[in-house]
């Protein structure tokens, strides 16, 4: 398979597609592989719940964070997840605006990824707090103390950004789901499914009015989602750039973080669609073309990120601030140097293989590169948070950070929760946006 297939294989048509896709959601018994996949995911999810409960009981002291390195896994993983989440929005919103046909068959998966990526990210800021039960103090509610949150703090901007992003993603996802839910309602084999999907479809019947407003609105919302996701990531970048801390105080962070979001987003989408198209027999609609396109996007964004890394080094030495240079040396050759170089390898060097068409078409290699990118992005955040913090301006406050078992359990726990969520989506709703596919498929069987 080294000739690139079209967006949909020849002979694909609407009825077959509709039958096939809705059958996946409506089948009475789940696939065996589904059960095999869901078991560990569920286990990890329960581990997540367990470690959260213990955290609330014992306090953030159970983590590796200390005096100079006061931020740790919670923030690293938060940034990591929110970046993964954004990838989905880019595909569903940005490429909707560009009317790219290939997007129609994968935007449902991408958006679901956004949903659960954002959910995982959303947990962390609360876990991170020393007194999590007071997290609502970040919200400007009418309190008897006459107090307000401190609106100049990037963390507060972040709080609002996440709030908006999660809500918007859910609404956008659900809106996009309405017509397909209607389809499921009308094809549901059992009464229960009829009622459930029927209720969720809210009575969408595809009347002329419903369609007219639908397209008007969907376009507008897509046009909103695109800047929103950029703002969310700029603000996450500002959580760091807004501080005077060594290694953080850089005007480049907002775009830098957006590049990172592209990269990890595309990588995760690739990792989801490549197995799913096989397991769910979707090769007709998610073709090697998709893999190829995403491969190119992955390469492009990796070049962006590479540029950011170079500028990072350049500004440090060009700026010539002593503390910055000390910290950067430490980053390159110090205790944590391995993690920095892993970042470079996974995020910049390996993706360069994608210049070759044959590589782009080799799904195994593409998969490995994507995994590398996701690991690399985590390492990047580890470097930004830990390495920067462990070399503050005064040598007397130098320090070191070692993660504890609880750090790792929480991280893997959220990973499990993410997979669990995706599997639920696969089981319950159409993994391909059927009504959008109809735009590009033959209306009738040949």
């Amino acid at each position: 398979m080294n000739a690139i297939e079209p967006v949909t294989l020849p002979g694909s048509n609407n009825p077959d597609m509709t039958d096939h896709v809705s059958a996946i959601a409506l089948r009475s018994k789940a696939f065996l592989w589904w059960w095999i996949a869901v078991a560990p995911a569920a286990l990890l999810t329960s581990i997540l719940i367990g470690s959260i409960l213990y955290l609330f009981y014992a306090g953030v002291g159970i983590w590796g964070i200390d005096w100079p390195v006061a931020w740790g896994f919670a923030i690293i993983s938060y940034v990591w997840w929110i970046a993964i989440a954004s990838g989905g929005t880019f595909i569903s919103a940005l490429f909707f605006l560009t009317r790219s046909e290939w997007r129609n068959s994968i935007n449902r998966i991408a958006e679901s990824m956004t949903l659960f990526g954002a959910a995982c990210a959303g947990i962390y800021p609360i876990l991170h707090l020393g007194r999590p039960w007071f997290f609502y103090w970040l919200f400007p509610y009418p309190n008897s103390m006459g107090l307000w949150p401190q609106f100049r703090s990037p963390l507060l901007w972040d709080f609002f950004a996440i709030l908006t992003y999660v809500t918007a993603s859910v609404l956008f996802w659900y809106l996009g789901l309405l017509p397909d839910l209607a389809t499921l309602r009308d094809r549901a084999p059992t009464r229960t499914k009829q009622v459930v999907y029927g209720a969720m479809a809210l009575g969408f019947r595809g009347t002329s009015g419903q369609w007219r407003h639908y397209h008007a609105l969907y376009g507008v919302l897509a046009a909103i989602m695109a800047p929103l996701v950029c703002s969310v990531h700029s603000i996450v970048g500002l959580d760091f750039a807004g501080a005077a801390t060594v290694g953080w105080h850089s005007t480049m962070f907002p775009p830098f973080f957006i590049f990172g979001a592209f990269l990890s987003g595309f990588a995760t989408v690739l990792l989801l669609i490549m197995p799913l198209r096989r397991l769910l027999r979707l090769q007709r609609y998610i073709t090697t073309r998709h893999v190829e396109v995403l491969g190119r996007l992955l390469l492009t964004s990796s070049l962006f990120v590479g540029y950011a890394y170079i500028m990072d080094a350049f500004t440090t030495y060009y700026g010539g601030e002593k503390a910055e240079i000390t910290m950067f040396q430490e980053k390159l050759f110090g205790y944590y140097a391995g993690i920095y170089w892993a970042t470079i390898l996974f995020n910049v060097l390996l993706p360069q293989l994608l210049w070759f068409r044959t590589i782009r078409l080799n799904q195994l290699v593409v998969g490995l590169i994507s995994v590398g990118v996701i690991v690399g992005m985590w390492c990047e955040r580890y470097t930004i948070v830990v390495v920067s913090l462990h070399r503050p301006r005064l040598p007397s406050s130098y320090g070191i950070f070692h993660a504890t078992i609880w750090d790792w359990l929480t991280l893997t726990g959220t990973a499990g929760f993410f997979v669990f969520g995706i599997l639920m989506i696969v089981r319950l709703v159409p993994v391909i946006s059927m009504f959008e596919m109809r735009e590009i498929l033959a209306p009738r069987r040949p």
Binding site: A58, G59, W71, W137, L147, P154, L155, A243, L394, P395
Partner: protein, 948 residues
């Protein structure tokens, strides 16, 4: 459970101890009730607080635990129902007294301050003195009479003593063992005892003693005179392995006098000081020149120095600095002073006496006084006799007070077994107490009457600060019981000694000094032989092993004091441990890194302990720190560090071998010990450069900024820290801990870098590891006007008030820790666990004017906001502005050298003056944070210029 340090478990154990519960029920009804049904330690502590309140500690009561108010039955006499008062007393170490005032809040002792009227203190305190209040509240303090492990009643003690009185007869077998004593009352009682038991003997033993100095004085003058330096009159100070500013009696006063001549911006006659020492000391670090010399060379160099000064010889084979120094000393005739430390042999002291006389210092830079100590003896000799008699069975009854020989003197435990009747009087559980027949709980100095003399002989009356927390016996009462059957009130005993009128007595109590008790100036003449004294050459061997007291645990008596255990040692920044300090050369030879185990053998005695590389230590030297490794001690000191006393007994060559494995040591500094550019933080220069351009180290006026909003309150608080005065003694750190209810976190958490000190003293080594330049810099919240921490807090938990304070509102903090990230000075501390709740001291011991911080909130230096608030209210009530120097922060008032100045800059005063100093600079001024704390750069008066 969170990994909490062992030391917290104590009170639980206590609560389960039936004996304690029984006693408690007698003293504190609620407490017993609480202990009866199991509860969490916190509530027990609360009730203990209530119990202590009932026990009479607290007159009135604001916010008593459990939402109840407990007014006294009778109006509390002469305690102000609320607010604070000071009561004078003294903190005694090695017999010598430093005057202190104890602050009482709501009628209970809360904090130790210096006594400005006391000659040895002048308002300053030592770290140990500051920590004494914690010792007073220590739940581990020994309570109840024990005989062979069985609890006893007071009456049984009285009968036993009655039997003793009869049995002792002429007192042939009766021995009393104490530490060095200056108490007039005590010696008076001993004298009386000697009348009753003519043949009794009084032995003295301190593991850290000043025998050599005494012997040196006898060599030089034929009598044990003591030297009284006038450091503010000294232009040229030469110290030889000296503890002048570290721990010598009167060191607080010396630090003050020394500092008075150290800042060229304030004195036009900056003194110059040379330190000749084998291992870094505070005295050496404070000097302009520090010469690293091994003891084995000292015994060569000092006589040579004497020769060239006394007889004008020019010895050969001396280090390069020798000739210039000798010349300079001669040039400074009448303005120079030489001081040698207690670790040096008597002969060297004799030579130093001779040199001081020859340099015409006597009467100008120092005076001689008669011995301050009561009936001074050669402790080593005195102990040899005692041990011999004990072995021989001549000792029938032995009374041990304020001494722990079983721990500090190898072989004593064995000898003790042969004594038919032995009795220990100790405030804390000690190894000795465990091995004598009787163990009596002593009253804490804050609980009973006594007296003591200062380094210059001045007498202070020690008065009780509170009713005894646990019933104990005062040494005076015990001696009296050996004297006669009738029990005496120690107050009367003390009072008899001094024969003061009521008026004088009350003045003495109020001022903390008994007037006209200064020791008379001695007119002893120098003996001719002094100048010829020749010190013995120390034993050979490639390693010289030195024993030094731990700067904070001293000889081990403070091992159960968590504040002192967790206080980073001034030069190593180590807590909770006493590794062997090895010179870089030794480390290189044996391939030792910090923490590597090493085995030290002296003759047949040997100890295995971790090593720590000590820059600036003589190549052949290894230093073992005494005082750790206590075995029979409270929960805090249990198993902290290593006992090196066994080595002191061993004779023969010293051998070091690298052991296997490495230990993690709780050090609070994690940077590469050697620095090339410490000057970025601790600005420093020479006196010559200063004279050329006084402002050469001062920072630029103010970084330009987009924001020019300034606090506009009626007061403007500011602080200035003089790095020329700071000797790194840590008194300020403990004072801060005590004043602000700062919890200790234990070794494990210190290793996790979670120590809580609001005020830390940064220490930098600069240059060559063999002989580095060592610098100190106290760092606390800088109270920036453009505070980076405030911008990033999402809930506004840290904001600015209009008087320029960066206030931290604990109860608003949700714990994002962003403020700490964004603090360039990293002065913020976070409660990763419920450190305050896990503290072992009772809640009443806390300062009620300071919020106790919960788990998950950030905290930091507040400029002692509670003191500011008090002054603010007083000023407002009088409708006047707050005076410039009206408020003193805890660190400021504790500093013996007056390195820290704080005040209301709006009203001028000292603070405004110091801020004007040309040496003033702000830390990390490139950050444009505009701190309210500024530093005065360190100036070295180096050899090339005369400085006067």
């Amino acid at each position: 459970m969170p990994p909490v340090n062992r030391q917290w478990r104590g009170l639980d154990r206590l609560a389960r101890d039936p004996a304690f519960v029984a006693r408690a029920s007698a003293e504190f009804p609620q407490l017993a009730a609480a202990l009866a049904e199991p509860r969490d330690r916190r509530s027990v502590l609360k009730l203990m607080a209530a119990g202590l309140a009932l026990a009479g500690l607290s007159g009135c009561d604001d916010g008593a635990p459990g939402g109840v108010l407990i007014p006294p039955v009778l109006p509390a006499d002469n305690t102000v129902a609320a607010g604070s008062r000071m009561f004078a007393t003294a903190s005694v170490l090695g017999g010598y007294a430093d005057g202190i005032l104890v602050r009482h809040v709501n009628g209970r002792p809360i904090k130790v301050e210096g006594n400005p009227l006391h000659p040895a203190s002048l308002g300053g305190t030592s770290a140990i003195g500051q920590a004494e209040i914690l010792g007073f509240y220590d739940p581990d303090r020994s309570r109840g009479l024990i005989r062979d492990g069985e609890p006893q009643s007071w009456s049984s003690l009285l009968t036993t003593l009655a039997a003793q009185r009869d049995a002792l007869g002429q007192g042939a077998g009766f021995r009393i063992l104490t530490g060095a004593v200056t108490s007039p009352t005590f010696s008076r009682q001993i004298a009386a005892l000697k009348q009753r038991y003519p043949e009794m003997r009084w032995h003295r033993w301190d593991p850290v003693c000043r025998d050599a100095m005494r012997a040196g004085a006898v060599l030089a003058y034929g009598q044990p005179v003591e030297v009284l330096p006038q450091l503010d009159a000294v232009d040229l100070l030469v110290t030889i392995d000296s503890d002048l500013l570290d721990s010598a009696p009167g060191h607080l006063r010396f630090a003050r006098d020394f500092a008075a001549r150290r800042n060229p911006a304030r004195t036009d006659r900056m003194s110059r000081s040379y330190a000749i020492e084998p291992t870094p000391s505070l005295t050496g670090v404070a000097a302009d020149h520090r010469f690293v010399v091994s003891p084995r060379d000292l015994v060569r160099i000092v006589p040579a120095l004497a020769a060239s000064i006394l007889r004008g010889e020019t010895p050969a084979g001396m280090p390069s600095w020798f000739a210039p120094l000798a010349a300079e000393m001669q040039a400074a005739h009448g303005r120079a002073f030489i001081h040698a430390g207690p670790q040096q042999p008597a002969e060297i002291h004799a030579l130093v006496h001779a040199m001081n006389e020859a340099l015409g210092g006597r009467g100008a830079t120092y005076t001689l006084i008669g011995p301050v100590e009561a009936d001074p003896v050669d402790q080593a000799a005195s102990m040899r006799d005692l041990m011999a008699d004990m072995q021989a069975g001549h000792v029938t009854s032995l009374l041990i007070m304020d001494s722990n020989p079983v721990f500090t003197l190898p072989g004593f435990g064995e000898a003790l077994k042969r004594v038919p009747f032995s009795m220990t009087l100790a405030a804390e559980t000690t190894e000795t107490g465990g091995q004598t027949h009787w163990t009596l709980p002593a009253r804490h100095p804050f609980e009973d009457w006594s007296d003591a003399r200062a380094y210059d002989g001045t007498v202070t009356i020690l008065q009780p600060q509170a009713k005894p927390l646990y019933d104990g016996l005062s040494p005076h009462a015990l001696l009296a019981l050996f004297q006669a059957a009738d029990q005496v009130d120690s107050r009367d005993v003390v009072r008899q000694t001094h024969g003061l009128t009521d008026g004088q007595w009350h003045d003495a109590l109020a001022t903390g000094v008994v007037p006209n008790t200064r020791a008379a100036v001695s007119d002893a003449r120098l003996k001719s032989g002094a100048a010829q004294a020749l010190p013995p050459r120390p034993a050979g061997g490639e390693v010289t092993l030195l024993f030094r007291p731990d700067p904070h645990l001293w000889d081990g008596r403070f091992a159960n004091n968590a504040w002192l255990q967790e206080l980073p040692r001034p030069l190593t920044k180590l807590t909770w441990d006493n590794p062997l300090l090895v010179s870089p050369a030794i480390a290189k030879r044996l391939g030792l890194a910090n923490g590597d185990r090493v085995s030290v053998a002296v003759g047949d005695a040997s100890v295995v302990l971790p090593a720590w590389v000590m820059p600036g230590q003589a190549a052949d030297c290894a230093v073992a720190l005494l005082g750790f490794g206590r075995t029979d001690v409270g929960m805090v000191g249990q198993g902290a560090g290593y006992d090196v006393y066994p080595l002191t007994g061993g004779g023969g060559p010293v051998t070091l071998r690298k052991g296997t494995g490495r230990e993690v040591l709780a050090c609070t500094e994690h940077h590469d010990p050697i620095f090339t550019d410490a000057g970025d933080y601790v600005r420093q220069g020479t006196l010559a450069a200063f004279k050329a351009n006084p402002g050469f180290l001062g920072g630029p006026a103010e970084q330009p900024s987009l924001y020019n909003r300034k606090p506009t309150g009626p007061a403007a608080w500011g602080m200035s820290i003089d790095l020329n005065a700071c000797i790194g003694c840590n008194a300020c750190v403990v004072a801060c801990t005590a004043e602000n209810n700062i919890p200790t976190v234990g070794k494990q958490q210190v290793i996790h870098e979670r120590e809580m000190h609001w005020l830390r003293i940064d220490r930098y080594h600069e240059g060559d590891p063999a002989d580095p330049n060592i610098l100190f810099q106290p760092v606390m919240c800088q109270h920036c006007e453009q505070a980076p921490c405030e911008i990033v807090c999402p809930v506004g938990a840290t904001v600015h008030d209009q008087e320029g304070l960066n206030v931290m509102v604990y109860n608003r903090c949700v714990g994002t820790r962003f403020c700490s990230n964004n603090c360039p000075y990293k002065v913020r501390r976070f409660n990763y666990f419920d450190f305050a709740g896990e503290e072992r001291r009772p809640a009443v011991a806390r300062n009620p004017d300071v919020t106790v911080r919960a788990r998950g909130v950030m905290e930091k230096c507040t400029f002692c906001l509670q003191r500011i608030a008090e002054a603010r209210i007083d000023a407002d009530m009088a409708n006047r502005p707050i005076g410039a120097d009206e408020v003193k922060t805890a660190c400021q008032s504790a500093c013996p050298a007056q390195a820290i100045t704080f005040g209301n800059m709006a009203q001028g005063g000292d603070i405004a003056e110091r801020k004007k100093s040309p040496l003033t600079y702000t830390l990390l001024d490139d950050q444009g944070t505009r701190p309210r704390v500024t530093y005065e750069a360190r100036i070295f008066n180096v050899g090339s210029d005369t400085g006067t």
